[in-house]
């Protein structure tokens, strides 16, 4: 009848939050769903560019691309979102800039806006598109992140993801719907970069809650 044993089954909500593993799982799930959602919506934006008018069965076009793309995006975002706080922790330089949800929302909105621009705006040529998107992405990073680790990870993952996509395309696993091949290649890395920054921002914000709880716990002990 010790203190600890008698109270093990109580306080379900708080106990769940404080449990580190569960916390990671919760965060991962949230990030995964965010990733899937963004993938679907942004895919829709890109689809719009190619087909202006939809046949009656519109919604099927949302899922017209390969089924595994949204889950992949979701897993990737979960991974990235969990990776960012880890790296911050490892490097010992916690992210200090504007750690609040409004800023995160702003970041997400700008990310969607970049996608929107890449989908809707007609650019003169692909170089212009690439340059604009790169400037926008770096502006996003500067406004919402400003950490070296964030930049490094963003660039690395963007390059890796572009490479993987290209490999997939060359191997015929996946195909671009757009006939203009260069067009897609020109926006892909920038979108990936911006996406990594955004998801990283969300992940850090989510991790903040865990930090708070853990700190409180330490304080109590």
């Amino acid at each position: 009848h010790t203190w600890n044993s008698s109270v093990s089954q109580v306080g379900p909500y708080i106990a769940v939050i404080t449990n580190r593993t569960t916390n990671v799982v919760i965060r991962g799930t949230m990030l995964f769903s965010v990733g899937v959602f963004l993938a679907l919506v942004l895919n829709l934006l890109q689809v719009q560019r190619n087909v202006t008018l939809f046949p009656p069965d519109v919604l099927s076009s949302v899922f017209s691309s390969a089924w595994w793309v949204p889950p992949c995006c979701g897993s990737a975002s979960a991974l990235i979102g969990l990776l960012y706080p880890c790296i911050d922790h490892c490097l010992g330089e916690p992210h200090k800039l504007k750690r609040e949800w409004s800023s995160v929302m702003r970041c997400v909105a700008v990310f969607v806006g970049i996608n929107h621009a890449s989908a809707k705006v007609d650019f003169a040529n692909n170089v212009q598109l690439s340059l604009t998107l790169a400037a926008l992405s770096i502006g996003l990073w500067w406004t919402f992140d400003r950490s070296r680790s964030g930049f490094g990870l963003g660039v690395g993952i963007a390059l890796l993801a572009t490479l993987v996509t290209q490999l997939l395309v060359y191997n015929g696993v996946f195909q671009y719907t757009s006939p203009d091949f260069l067009y897609i290649r020109s926006w892909l890395p920038c979108i990936f970069f911006a996406g990594v920054i955004t998801i990283g921002n969300i992940g850090r914000q989510l991790a903040l809650y865990e930090c708070k709880v853990v700190q409180e716990k330490i304080h109590q002990d």
């Binding site: 009848h1 010790t2 203190w3 600890n4 008698s6 109270v7 093990s8 089954q9 109580v10 306080g11 379900p12 708080i14 106990a15 404080t18 919506v41 942004l42 829709l44 934006l45 689809v47 719009q48 087909v51 202006t52 008018l53 939809f54 046949p55 009656p56 069965d57 519109v58 919604l59 099927s60 076009s61 949302v62 609040e100 949800w101 409004s102 995160v104 929302m105 702003r106 997400v108 909105a109 700008v110 969607v112 806006g113 929107h116 621009a117 809707k120 705006v121 007609d122 650019f123 003169a124 212009q128 340059l131 604009t132 400037a135 926008l136 502006g139 409180e216 716990k217 109590q220 002990d221």
Partner: protein, 1243 residues
């Protein structure tokens, strides 16, 4: 001083002055800002309202030329979209065909079979039409819009819609434009219907496309009244050749003249289609808006410490929105027309402009010293943040300027809007928002001022209105024990999220409103988009105003006046399709017999309703037709050429010849199945379906409800008994559960406030300030024994007064019979039983005694050293009888009814006096000081241990009221006592701790054990028989157990825990009084300790801290600060720790993690007493009431008022008995409250 610093200083100074200005003249500045906003938004009036409906523009045919791409300045009325060639020219051939004269031998199918059959010859004619002139030969093939593949999703329409050729649609497409297929088709209607979309569909169907007129107007039906079939042949032309079209028109008119046709053929209608917003576009749009709202929510949530959060949040949003509007307005004013989709870029603009500055401003102003003047606060706040604000604005402007140099037109336009928006936002922040903020801060200060001043100074006196002469009287209570359910202050409670959401939904009726609004919107959409609805009506209205519609009504002429019976007006009232069996009757009666079915020849009339075929159609049919071929009409227009009317009259012979052999067999049921009936049938079908759907929905909701709200609603898995209805929380949303009968039982008898309270489950001992100890039956509330403070007994004449007050005059008519040593004091047990609710009678008390303060028990003259128990009761002069007489006189008659017959005690009186209570007193050898008051009391078995201020420990027999033993080893007052098995631990004022052992002259094995009292946690207490000689020995005295007085002493699980003002807690073993641990951790004196059988130890101190300790190891498990001020009481359940403090807060902590689950803010001055009845039921004492709380959710379950005059008398002590009753002190009374549901649970 660098330039930067100087700049910074200047900016700061400027902002300071600006802040002063804004705070000084708030109203003029707000007015000025509003005016400038309105001025800047004025140009927006010129912009067209957003909408996706097609726009119509009409030109003449004669002088038609393809409009130029470049806008022509001189033509003002031309819409902007009327530039360049249209996507297509639409030429429609409107065919009206009828079999005439109508013959009764014809079957209903004949109405439309042969007329539709004629389409093939017409098509042939149109396709083969060739116009030859000097420039060459033109045919339809060369002019028409060539289409290629259908969209991949439309394979099923492949056989019907034309592919790889002219876009020419007609009803013939159903049969691939082949006459043979048509002739072979046995069921035309089925063919037509099989391509209809199933279910509800608001967009155009294939049938509308091919027939080119509304379904209702085609006449292709077995029940057609008019027997006129209307359809169009629609040709899409890619180029406009007036000569070819003219010749085609002439040719068709020549072949099939329409005599009375007044259709005008000199106007051309151009229809412009706005950009489509489909679901595919809507989803990203909605997403961006959701993100935007989340952003605004998270931003405005940070506004804090202001008077009106909502007002400021609104002001912030208004600032951003109006800056955007101003931006668009200004841009429009200077000639830039927005080409971007406003709805799309709006969220991004808001996000770019942002609410950050506004929040920074608010925070900065709020964090300035409160005691400053409002003006100065605003100015300081502004100037503090001036540099960062300016930096922010400059950075954003820089980023946007970079965007401007991307040289992408769309981005440039966006940037332009954003720049202007940023600047106007800055302007509004500085003027509008700052001023609003200053107003708000001033309001807050006013409110503060009001609060600080006395109520009469700050508030105007409430005027007694004529309608309400007084304040509303409090709700009458029929008896003082009525339970009134207090409206719980839910705002202070922390309900679980799920419940809060539900409450929110319930409070705002959100679901209903959403459904209502949704329904209204849906109906609105239906009305608007319905082909026969508002939209077409509006379009008709618009086009009537246009020159096209000015032609006026042409005369409504019949075409074929061959048959005199065919009165055009009478056709409406005549039922169609007569059954063949009544033909002879028809013949005999003639065609003009009233009320009889007359075969009416169909009339072909060309009215204004045929004027513009497109008007009757859902205008979206064109986009959908073109979209089948992946041609978008969004932001483009088509030109509709005047229709070519074609009238076909078919003879009955022809109709019969073209019959399919099965047509006659497919006659409709001959029973006059009127369209009404059919409609009725559809109505029934729809009604049945709707009903079924409704039932299904209800069932679904019910299932959902069951899933979401299981039966043990709100139990949260705690193995707690079911909740009775009476225990449900009464909330402020109108639901109040029925009042359950929790009635407090008032135990009266004490003359002064109750000081000590002890219980062992069966008995209840209480001690008042006067030193009187009373023993009650905890089950029934009977007073069993009275042990008076005998020193007072002899206090001359006042003794009678004392007992007069001590005993209820109504039930105890013979107060003087009571002697201090009277063990049978409550001999009239029946009366004690019979009138537990004596309180009701108190008003009848004579006014004679009301005004006098009842201080008599304190008067102690101490005339005698002898214990009063040895004195005869009649020793002193007693005014009792005198007073009694006074009572009798003043008592109203109803209360006399409750008075037991005064004769009953009379014979007993001598016996009471003679009762041999003077058994050999263990303490008799030495005189005891009776005047010392009881500081601590414990009750075990039938022994009451009382610790006195003189340091004496007395053991009384609870049943007989005799002193069994007393110990005077200590001299320092006993502040706390613990009675565990046969050990008594006494804590003294000087910080020492004495351990006593209670021994009887019998071996312990012979001790009788009373019935096991309920809970297993408590060891059965031995019952000492009255004949046993009880000895109380000091076994060990720990001197200087604490440096300062011991404040709390608790014993459980073989441990004694003491808390002292020297900030430490000590744990002793009960058996050998060995100090196990000294627990240090508090930074203030210990005020409360909790320990139970499970070795849970919690302590609370004056520092507001609560420590949880592991009793086995002496280590601190957790340490939390929960209260401002002392922790007054601590209780633990298996899952949580409940603490109450001087700050009137009750905090509930998770026991394992030490995290505060929630806290309950009580009223000021509430008692600090706490008790836990069961795992989830908490009881707290308040001002004259006790409240029951649900521990799982923090709901106030019930408040039980103990009496009428609840004010001023707080419940200070509260004991939870094992039978789930609660005993609490209530001034000089004790209150016994049973909790029925818990009782039931325990049973």
């Amino acid at each position: 001083m660098t330039v930067r610093e100087r700049l910074r200083q200047n900016i700061s100074a400027a902002f300071y002055r600006h802040g002063l200005l804004c705070a000084s003249y708030p109203v003029p500045i707000v007015l000025f800002t509003s005016a400038s906003i309105l001025t800047c938004c004025y140009p927006l009036l010129k912009l067209p309202l957003p909408g996706t409906g097609p726009v119509v523009f009409t030109t003449g045919v004669r002088d038609y030329t393809i409009p130029y791409h470049e806008p022509q300045g001189e033509i003002g009325e031309r819409p902007e979209w009327y530039r360049g060639p249209p996507v297509a020219y639409i030429q429609q051939v409107l065919v009206k065909a009828a079999v005439s004269p109508w013959d009764n031998t014809l079957v209903p199918v004949d109405v439309f079979r042969s007329p539709i059959g004629r389409v093939f010859s017409l098509l042939e004619e149109i396709r083969n039409h060739v116009y030859t002139d000097s420039s060459g030969v033109r045919s339809l093939e060369s002019l028409c819009l060539q289409v290629t593949d259908l969209l991949p999703g439309l394979r099923r329409m492949q056989t019907i819609l034309p592919e790889h050729g002219c876009l020419l649609v007609s009803p013939g497409n159903y049969w691939q434009n082949q006459r043979d297929l048509f002739d072979l088709d046995s069921d035309l209607l089925k063919t037509i219907h099989q391509h209809e979309p199933k279910g509800f569909h608001i967009s155009t169907s294939l049938r509308d496309l091919l027939f080119g007129v509304m379904k209702e107007h085609t006449g292709v039906s077995l029940y057609s009244k008019k027997r006129v079939v209307t359809y169009t042949i629609t040709i899409a032309l890619s180029s406009y050749d007036p000569r070819f079209l003219g010749s085609l028109r002439a040719r068709l008119k020549q072949l099939h003249p329409s005599l009375n046709c007044t259709l005008r053929d000199d106007h051309m209608v151009h229809v412009h289609f706005k950009e489509e917003i489909g679901i595919a576009e809507l989803i990203p749009l909605v997403t961006t808006y959701i993100i935007l709202f989340a952003y605004i929510y998270f931003s405005t949530r940070k506004i804090d410490m202001v008077k009106s959060k909502w007002g400021l949040a609104l002001a912030a949003v208004v600032t951003v929105l109006s800056s955007l509007l101003m931006s668009v307005g200004l841009c429009t004013l200077f000639g830039l027309t927005p080409t971007l989709n406003g709805g799309e870029i709006f969220p991004y603009l808001v996000v770019v402009i942002g609410l950050e500055n506004v929040l920074v401003l608010t925070k900065s102003v709020v964090s300035t010293p409160v005691d400053l003047e409002v003006k100065l606060r605003i100015a300081q706040g502004l100037s503090n943040e001036s540099w960062s604000i300016m930096k922010n604005v400059a950075t954003e402007l820089g980023i946007i300027l970079i965007g401007y140099f991307t040289l992408v037109p769309a981005i440039q336009e966006f940037c332009l809007f954003a720049v202007v928006g940023l600047v106007s936002d800055f302007f509004l922040q500085m003027f509008f928002f700052t001023t609003v903020l200053s107003i708000d801060i001033r309001r807050m200060e006013l409110a503060d001022l009001n609060r600080r001043l006395p109520a009469e100074a700050g508030m105007p006196q409430p005027k007694p209105g004529p309608l309400r002469p007084r304040e509303t009287p409090p709700p009458p209570r029929q008896s003082p024990h009525t339970i009134t359910l207090q409206a719980p202050a839910f705002r202070n409670l922390r309900l679980p999220k799920r419940l809060r959401v539900v409450y929110f939904l319930a409070r705002t009726r959100l679901a209903q409103r959403i459904i209502m609004v949704g329904t209204v919107i849906w109906i609105g959409i239906l009305v608007y988009t319905d082909p026969a609805g508002l939209r077409t009506y509006l379009a008709a209205q618009v086009s009537e105003q246009s020159p096209l519609g000015e032609s006026g009504l042409p005369p409504h002429l019949g075409v074929a006046p061959v048959f005199p019976g065919g009165d055009p007006t009478s056709t409406l009232s005549v039922l169609p399709a007569p059954e063949p069996t009544i033909i002879p009757e028809n013949h005999s009666n003639g065609h003009d017999s009233l009320g009889h079915i007359t075969p009416v020849s169909p009339q072909i009339s060309w009215g204004p309703e045929d004027e513009d075929g497109w008007k009757h159609l859902y205008l979206r049919q064109w986009p959908s037709l073109f979209s089948y071929y992946n041609i978008t009409l969004a932001k483009r227009y088509i030109s509709i050429l005047p229709v070519i009317p074609v009238t076909l009259h078919l003879s009955p012979q022809e109709a019969i010849e073209t019959r399919h052999p099965q047509d006659t067999r497919h006659q409709p049921p001959p029973i006059p199945r009127t369209p009404d009936q059919q409609n009725d049938l559809t109505l029934y079908k729809v009604a049945a379906l709707g009903l079924a759907a409704g039932v299904l929905l209800v069932l679904l909701l019910f299932c959902l409800y069951r899933v979401l709200c299981p039966r043990n609603y709100g139990q949260n898995g705690v193995p707690h008994g079911r909740r009775r209805r009476g225990d449900l929380p009464c909330d402020e949303y109108g639901y109040s559960p029925p009042v359950s009968e929790i009635s407090p039982l008032l135990l009266r008898g004490h003359s002064m406030d109750i000081e000590c309270l002890a219980s062992d489950g069966m008995l209840l001992a209480s001690c008042c300030l006067a030193g009187q100890i009373r023993v009650w039956d905890a089950q029934t509330g009977d007073c069993l024994t009275i042990i008076p403070n005998n020193g007072l007994r002899r206090s001359s004449s006042s003794g009678g007064w004392e007992h007069r007050d001590g005993w209820d005059p109504m039930t105890m008519p013979e107060p003087d019979t009571l002697s201090g040593a009277d063990t049978g004091a409550c001999l009239e047990g029946a009366e004690c039983d019979g009138y537990p609710l004596r309180r009701r009678l108190t008003p009848s008390r004579p006014a004679l005694f009301v005004d006098q303060p009842d201080l008599t028990p304190l008067i102690d003259t101490n005339f005698s050293e002898l214990p009063p128990s040895q004195k005869p009761p009649k020793n002193g002069f007693d005014f009792g009888e005198l007073v009694d007489r006074a009572y009798q006189e003043h008592e109203p008659s109803p209360s006399l009814a409750f008075t037991p017959s005064p004769t009953a005690p009379q014979p007993r009186r001598p016996s009471v006096g003679d009762q041999p209570v003077m058994s050999p007193d263990p303490c008799s050898p030495g005189p005891t000081d009776w005047d010392s008051s009881v500081w601590a009391m414990e009750l075990r078995g039938n022994l009451i241990a009382a610790g006195r201020s003189s340091g004496k420990l007395e053991l009384w027999d609870a049943v007989e009221g005799s002193l069994r033993c007393c110990n005077e080893d200590g001299v320092s007052g006993i502040t706390a006592l613990a009675f565990h098995n046969n050990r008594i631990v006494a804590a003294r004022l000087n910080g020492s701790l004495d351990f006593f052992t209670v021994e009887t002259n019998k071996p312990l094995g012979l001790l009788q054990y009373r019935g096991a009292p309920g809970r297993g946690s408590m060891p059965p207490s031995p019952c000492y028989r009255s004949e046993d000689v009880i000895n109380c020995q000091l076994t060990r005295s720990v001197q200087c157990a604490h440096q300062k007085p011991i404040t709390v002493l608790r014993a459980a699980a073989g441990r004694v825990v003491t808390g002292s003002q020297d900030h430490t807690v000590r744990v002793y073993r009960l058996e050998d009084s060995c100090c196990l641990f000294t627990l240090q951790g508090h930074s203030g004196g210990i005020t409360s300790i909790y320990i139970d059988q499970t070795m849970v130890l919690a302590s609370g101190g004056q520092d507001g801290a609560i420590c949880l300790w592991d009793v086995l190891t002496g280590s601190r498990v957790s340490h939390v600060y929960g209260h401002r001020g002392d922790v007054t009481s601590l209780v633990c359940t298996t899952s949580c720790v409940i603490s109450s403090g001087l700050d009137d807060l009750i905090c509930i902590w998770d026991r394992s993690t030490g995290i505060k689950l929630y806290s309950i803010q009580q009223e000021v001055g509430c008692g600090a007493s706490l008790g836990v009845i069961s795992e989830s039921l908490l009881v707290t004492g308040g001002q004259g009431c006790v409240s029951f709380w649900d521990l799982n959710f923090g709901d106030l379950l019930q408040t039980v008022y103990l009496g009428q005059n609840s004010e001023g008398q707080g419940v200070r002590q509260l004991l939870v008995l094992e039978n789930a009753a609660i005993v609490c002190d209530f001034g000089s009374e004790l209150s016994l409250v049973y909790v029925p549901s818990v009782l039931e649970k325990l049973d």
